[in-house]
Symmetry: C2
Subunit: 571 residues, 2 copies
Amino acid sequence: MEEDNAAGPSKKALKKAEAKAKKEALKAQRAAERVTTQVANVELEDDPAKDNYGTVTNPTFSADAEEVELRDLDESYDGKKVVIRAWLQNSRTQSAKMGFVELRKGGNWTIQGLVLATITGTGAESQLPAEGTPIISRRMVKFITAINPESFIAVEAQVKRPIEPVKSCRISTLELHITKAFVLAAAPPVLGMTMAASNQPVANFSDEEPKAEEEVKKEPEAEGGIPAASMLTHLDNIAMHKRAPVQQAIADIRIEVKRLFRSYLEERRFKEFEPPCLIGAASEGGANVFRLAYFGQEAFLAQSPQFYKQFEIAGGRERVFSIGPVFRAENSNTPRHMTEFTGLDLEMEIKHSYFEVIQVLEGVLLHILRGLRERCADEIEVVRSVYPSEDFLLPEPGKEVRLTFAEGQKLLREEGPEEFRNVRDDEDMSTAQEKALGAVVRAKYNTDFYVLDKFPETARPFYAKVDDAGTTVGDNIRVTNAFDFFLRGQEVLSGGQRINDPKELEERIRAKGVDPNSEGIKEYLTTFRQVGVPPHGGGGIGLDRVVAWFLALPSVHLAAFYPRTPKRLLP
Amino acid sequence: MEEDNAAGPSKKALKKAEAKAKKEALKAQRAAERVTTQVANVELEDDPAKDNYGTVTNPTFSADAEEVELRDLDESYDGKKVVIRAWLQNSRTQSAKMGFVELRKGGNWTIQGLVLATITGTGAESQLPAEGTPIISRRMVKFITAINPESFIAVEAQVKRPIEPVKSCRISTLELHITKAFVLAAAPPVLGMTMAASNQPVANFSDEEPKAEEEVKKEPEAEGGIPAASMLTHLDNIAMHKRAPVQQAIADIRIEVKRLFRSYLEERRFKEFEPPCLIGAASEGGANVFRLAYFGQEAFLAQSPQFYKQFEIAGGRERVFSIGPVFRAENSNTPRHMTEFTGLDLEMEIKHSYFEVIQVLEGVLLHILRGLRERCADEIEVVRSVYPSEDFLLPEPGKEVRLTFAEGQKLLREEGPEEFRNVRDDEDMSTAQEKALGAVVRAKYNTDFYVLDKFPETARPFYAKVDDAGTTVGDNIRVTNAFDFFLRGQEVLSGGQRINDPKELEERIRAKGVDPNSEGIKEYLTTFRQVGVPPHGGGGIGLDRVVAWFLALPSVHLAAFYPRTPKRLLP
């Protein structure tokens, strides 16, 4: 499984990479300084092309030039005059008369532009072109090719078909013959992280600053000789991190997961609601909860919307979902953990059986996974070009794999690695066991997605409904109507039927050693006593994990817009 | 304007109402106790109908009965056998043989059910009905009409047209002839707040507990003699609060606002993102920010996604929006304030002018306001039946009102109340001034929605871009490309063009007396220095306020799912 590579390259490789990156940066800086000096020496005042280029905030363009977004540029624009706003990604000088640039916009849309001087000769012998031809000087060519990469520029150009396709650009069958070019927002001469580095796999996810200035003896091992950067460098250069096509693609996939989740549920009459983040009691046990001073009392950050989803059901909302932040004050510095992440939660009335809940949750997850393959094929390819992964195996319709917890443990004992020969049916699984079982299930059932149901009550919170049939496992432990869902052997969803009878609920609260009169619990229990609450169940999906494990990313941090870890709150 | 009633009834009226509510509850309790005793005395064992009613968790129904949701019940079901799961809202006994119930589901769908004994005679003389006729005993009739209101029940029934329409129910042209009835989740005999009380206007929004046991001399002033309850009582009975049709309607309208916001922006290529709640610096000034201990450092709760929206633009996302919680540690106990609320935010690249931003924001808000009128006409009516309001006046397309701040102040001086004769063009407006100007604009332009642009820089944060033309107002104060939007004279949106040049930004940060090297600010500024950031602007809409002011609710707390106030964090 890809998971074995989750820790990334070795520390040694990392240090080499970081050192190489610094060396590259220094080299780039020197080159940039040379160019900047040259450009500064040009006297613009006597340049006949001086109105066609420069650094200005509000440039003017020809009245007959159409403003177009790169992604909208197609063959129908051949021969037309356009204005394009984009990032200058690369440039090179062919000769004193001619230069090339690569422009990027809309995440991953790139096109080649070229600029060719129309003023012939140099100095006193120079001649303006014929009336009607754009005036382009050698100085203008020099200016354009000297623009710092990642500057935001606007060009006026004629769209033409290139002699042969420009393989290095996504828009390969068109190019821009630039006639005006203005820098709207200049990047500095040296970037803290280049685009080439940003679009490499992150070298290391540690939150520790690497020891500076270590001697490097060999070249780093990164492919193609492009240095990789650590996650710290990525976050310190947040704009460059986000501009990389791989991060643009991950962000777009993340958006699509939310959209697929929402649309599937709305079609089934689920209604969105917003649970609070600030809550008055550490309702789910008190461990790993953030606390804050709140006008003379104490407040807590919600670890899940659990109680509030249930209040919605008690409040007659029938079927609800929420998409929002949840918080865990867990001091875990691993690629699997964050202190703030996004929960996709749902809760619904049950008519006959909690299988109705499994059905909806399985349905929505498969809708998401299948939907991604259909709608995000391009984005998945972009991600894979940086983070290679095996195809995500989806079960065929009607062949979804649902195992009981006991069946899962049995499989693990019988077909899993040696070390798991003695796993028990009445004890929760470790992450290592989950991954091992995922591998067994994949080999046996040809799927990276499956459900584990009927968890023992020892592994579940007090609100989990115990199996009506009185089934027990192991040391006479009852099982619950509660389940987890797995992607590539890693949990992405926990759910189950909840207790809706206040007497049963109070009994389970006491059995779990919780005081039914403690703050938060009391109000929770009271709600069930105040009105009749219908049978219900639901589940919570970790959005970041769905994105990360579906794409087999080495860290969940790559799936988040702004990963929060115990050591990192900025930017 | 409706705002004058925002404070609700007087304290005296409130106390009366609360006392009356208690009296009513006591009366109901006594009545309920009588009924419960009677039912308990019934010996079920010898009842031939005993399988057709009772309190069970998993009842069985006839194989030919179709499970239907109340909202789906239409004329096509006439004569058919159905199973309905719903709340019992009301019941009454017509005779020993006959009873009526009112069932509610799906927020506001109600229907009348009736149950008629088919066993003739009583005691030893009783006779079973003919073969094929449902067996319904007088004890069953008694059981059904004695079910505590707000219990969740399941009934099997034949759908029939009533002799005349049942005016008290939304489904008035059908009724249910009940043949089986099971209580799935029983409400207690006495509700902490009845449905009748819950669907009244909230009597008082104060967070202070009313002084208990005050003598009441007269009847409360609430209409129809139904006692109103305070917001405290509503929140203490969260399920009953939510079950009221008025709250169901408000929740549905709130959902629609989000949906309209999202769909309008997605059609215009805006991409959703998720800003963090946990941030490493009190970036926007440090006032009114919640602080918490975070693994040996200090963390803060985001007051807005401002910086993060801009990082997205710097990161090449072009046009972004976010929907999520923001936090203000403001000790304001008013119907206008909450400590946690939902922000609808957007940010976009600017091509030519920040009017592009106003255009999108005006467009999305008008899309929301017009969309609500079209899609939520029923819900708006439900809300108005409890909280009457004047029609929200929308500008005709093409006649949107945009005033500069100076024009607004001039209007206020010339056509506003006496007290505002001397308002200055270089000082921010107070809430009272805003409301007064809203009234003037409504009278003059026939709209409850308008834009105030070009705020003086004294009234705006450091990132607001100053007007290029160098326009000044009052005491030589420059104006900014920043604006507010108003609904019924109350601000719901703040926005503007942001500074994208790092030098200009640093200058403004210093001018505002902020240290450009302070934590959070430094990282913010660094991002603009690291790469070229295109011109951009955006705005933030308060979702709770849009809902509350559009509906002219007396408090923004009614628009929230779980209002958070300085004194209230539960439930």
